[in-house]
């Protein structure tokens, strides 16, 4: 088998043709090294799990006493970073008098959440929700919004903490997510989750707000893009609740916006606009992803001009030899 492959390879390498041999060898080596590099890159395995089992009340009191001693959220004492003593980006509250989203809670859910948390989250976020320096942020005081956002968009759990969390299939069912929310908010506290009602928003306000605050990263019709350091997701799968949660908390590298900057009506309008971007008004026909001149150039060259070259080939002749 190996000798047959070697024979095939030598035949390809040495057969006469119109690419020089040194080039074929170079291409083969380059392809082989790309394949090998990708195989060698193993996904990071999650850290060791396992910690003492405690009831959720004991856990909550432990967390409260720990944070009371340490003062406001501070560095756990690891090696110095580029952001010494920087407070974590805590989520903005929904604002006084603004609607909130409440998730179901019960002692059973809390207990279920606790066991889910121990199995799936504590290896990075710590048994006391304290986080791990260089790996995962603390979950004390985050509230329901971030937990629901990260879990319902499938961004958490995250295999490799050095990678950017990206939207994927949620790993937990809705009940499990509710359980985790119940556990984390009961033990860690934090503001309630925000709410957004698209039906009460106006598209014109939403578009205006989106251009002012969001289009710089998310593109005018929410198709995403990039910043230096991260990939900015498109918003076509986002629900109104997820929009509200993201706006108030600022996931990953995103800034957040409090109720003074974006009030509830504007938040409703933003949610309405983001949902609208799933089917924007493409009066001109096929929207070709609504990202502008790049797909337009592709259509011009590879559809229109290609069709016209075909017509030219039809009309004209090929070169007559001999």
């Amino acid at each position: 088998m190996i000798s047959a492959m070697r024979r095939l390879f030598m035949r390809w390498l040495t057969r006469p043709g119109w690419t020089p041999r040194w080039l074929r060898l170079g291409v083969a080596l380059a392809l082989a090294s790309i394949v090998l590099v990708n195989l060698a890159r193993a996904p990071a395995s999650s850290g060791a799990a396992g910690s003492a089992r405690q009831s959720s009340e004991q856990l909550a009191s432990t967390i409260r006493s720990v944070t009371a001693r340490a003062g406001p959220l501070k560095d756990e004492g690891g090696p110095p970073t580029t952001l010494p003593n920087a407070p974590a980006k805590s989520p903005e509250p929904p604002g006084p008098g603004n609607p909130t989203t409440t998730f179901p809670t019960s002692p059973q859910l809390v207990a279920q959440g606790m066991s889910l948390y121990e199995n799936g989250c504590s290896s990075c976020h710590g048994t006391l929700l304290q986080g791990m320096h260089g790996v995962a942020p603390s979950l004390v005081g985050v509230g329901a919004g971030p937990v629901d956002f990260y879990l319902s968009t499938g961004r958490m759990p995250l295999d490799n903490p050095r990678e950017e969390p990206q939207r994927s299939q949620p790993a937990y069912s809705r009940t499990d997510i509710n359980a985790l929310i119940a556990f984390i908010t009961t033990t860690g506290g934090g503001p309630p989750a925000p709410a957004a009602n698209p039906a009460q928003g106006s598209l014109a306000t939403g578009f205006h707000q989106f251009v002012d605050h969001c289009a710089g990263c998310h593109q005018l019709v929410g198709r995403g893009g990039l910043v230096i350091g991260a990939y900015v997701p498109d918003l076509q799968s986002a629900t109104a609740l997820q929009v509200a949660e993201a706006v108030r908390m600022g996931p990953y590298l995103m800034p957040h916006f409090d109720a003074t900057q974006i009030n509830q009506h504007e938040l409703d309008s933003l949610a309405r606009y983001v949902l609208w971007t799933r089917h924007p008004s493409n009066n001109g026909g096929w929207g070709i992803y609504n990202i502008g001149p790049i797909p337009e150039g592709i259509v011009a060259w590879f559809m229109a001009l290609a069709a016209l070259v075909l017509v030219a080939r039809l009309i004209g002749e090929r070169m007559k030899t001999e």
């Binding site: 990263c217 900015v232 096929w286 001149p293 016209l308 009309i315 002749e317």
Partner: protein
């Protein structure tokens, strides 16, 4: 002849007599009707460009009757709900009205924009054909310079056209053009103040001036140059590919009347058909989704139209090199990518006929074209230069693609800063050896047969009669040598 035929014949004769008694142009008509066009399909690429230009002028006249070239701010109370109550320029509002209120307005707008993209794309394809077949050699170098000038004017015209709309995307493009204009050493500041009437975004008269450039100045220049281009072609006659009966001193092909004229008209109609098809079915430049331009707004993923896209790649690749001498910023950074790069590209293109004359010593008149494989070095240099420009273009437009592949943007830029110089060299060597191999073997790499003919000699030992490299190999394997491959047109073995 049928009655209708007889009536047409009589009408035509009478009409011709009418003009002949006044203009006496029969010799010219005779010349034009019998003028011979070569039949090769690649000669039609320039016609695709010409016919796109006609579509542009026709649709442009329609648009110009509705467009209002004013930067004066108004509040929108029109048909599109997402922009209700927004502040915008009158120019932008007039284009929104064309889109939503004028019957067939959006169709004409989209046809116009698609035609611009296809116009410049076909010019580039035509230029590629001219270059790789050596059609720019004497006596056609003059026409080549005219063609390059038309390409330059077409690019500026397209940029001016979509910038007239004053939407967020094109406004960002104008801001960058302002940055590039400022970056010209010494005179950049005064030049920009002249064009914009001061600091960007300029005065209210900016759009009316831009409109005059787009609607009158450049189209008039283009029309004149097209006229000159065609007149020179007719004076010199078309070039042609070598072939049976084709010499340097003749042209072999189809006369204008009736066949070529009909085919050419068919091409014109086909160009218009394709442009109207995509103009109606595929959306382009949905400016209502972008919103109006304000200097303090921008969006992620903004790109110019493709024929400016090669510049954005250069602007993004360049490191932050900005030399300052005695407090004067001698070469502001946008100069490298926005001014020097296109200057070099067009400079090389303009200089090429003279350069080739100098380096090959060939100063004769040429009317027969080369196949690209017949001049491997020229083809390789052309391919390398083209790949240089195309790679820079790709770097500017594929940021989203690299991120999907989990390659950080900064790493990609650092790689390509070196890569844009290395890859063209590789392309040069590949192309040159490929052209040489094609020239030797005389077979098409994808269609020709690439085998070896072996026979058994009298001593029983195999002897190689022909390979793809040592002789002119037949296009098909000889009869009986390959089972199941009997072809009705095969030649007997020599």
């Amino acid at each position: 002849m049928s009655p209708i035929g007889r009536a047409v014949h009589r009408r035509f004769e009478r009409g011709l007599r009418y003009t002949e008694q006044r203009l006496g142009g029969a010799p010219v008509y005779k010349y034009l009707l019998r003028y011979v066009f070569p039949d090769h399909w690649s000669f039609l690429l320039g016609e695709i460009a010409l016919y796109s230009f006609l579509v542009l002028v026709a649709t442009g006249i329609f648009l110009t009757l509705y467009y209002i070239p004013s930067a004066h701010e108004v509040t929108y109370h029109g048909a599109y709900p997402l922009l209700q109550g927004q502040q915008m320029s009158e120019a932008y509002r007039s284009v929104l009205d064309i889109t939503f209120n004028v019957p067939a307005g959006l169709l004409i707008r989209q046809v116009h924009h698609w035609a611009a993209d296809v116009f410049i794309a076909s010019i580039v394809l035509h230029l590629v054909r001219i270059f790789f077949t050596g059609a720019y050699r004497k006596p056609r170098d003059i026409n080549y310079y005219i063609g390059l000038t038309m390409l330059l004017l077409a690019i500026l015209e397209g940029f001016a056209g979509y910038s007239l709309v004053d939407d967020l995307l094109s406004g960002m493009g104008l801001a960058i053009a302002y940055g590039v204009a400022l970056s010209i050493p010494f005179i950049g500041g005064q030049l920009s103040a002249l064009i914009w009437g001061g600091q960007f975004p300029g005065t209210d008269s900016f759009f009316s001036r831009l409109e005059i450039v787009h609607v009158l100045l450049i189209p008039a220049a283009l029309a004149t140059l097209i006229g000159a281009h065609l007149a020179i072609i007719m004076r010199q006659h078309h070039s042609q590919f070598p072939g049976p009966g084709r010499k340097e001193r003749n042209v072999v092909g189809t006369p204008t009347w009736p066949a070529y004229a009909l085919r050419s008209i068919g091409l014109l109609l086909a160009v218009a058909a394709v442009l109207f098809l995509i103009g109606g079915l595929i959306q382009i430049n949905p400016i209502w989704q972008w919103g109006p331009y304000h200097p303090y707004l921008s969006e992620n993923g903004a790109q110019p139209d493709w024929y400016i896209g090669w510049l954005i790649g250069a602007l993004r690749l360049m490191p932050n090199f900005e030399p300052v001498v005695a407090g004067h910023t001698v070469l502001p950074n946008p100069f490298w990518g926005g001014a020097l790069f296109p200057l070099v590209v067009f400079g090389v293109l303009y200089a090429w006929p003279a350069l080739e004359r100098r380096f090959t010593g060939d100063r004769r008149r040429h009317d027969l074209l080369d196949r690209p494989r017949d001049r491997p070095t020229r083809t390789a240099i052309g391919a390398a230069f083209l790949s240089w420009v195309v790679i820079i273009f790709a770097v500017g437009s594929t940021d989203r693609l690299f991120f999907r592949l989990h390659i950080p943007y900064t790493a990609m830029i650092h790689f390509w800063r070196g890569g844009v110089w290395v890859l063209p060299v590789i392309v040069f060597f590949i192309t040159r050896s490929g052209a040489r191999a094609l020239k030797r073997s005389e077979t098409h790499p994808l269609r020709g047969w690439q085998g070896t003919i072996v026979t058994r000699g009298p001593d029983g030992e195999p002897r190689i009669l022909q390979t793809a490299e040592n002789t002119t190999a037949p296009r098909e394997p000889p009869a009986g040598t390959v089972p199941g491959h009997d072809h009705p047109e095969q030649k007997p073995t020599p």
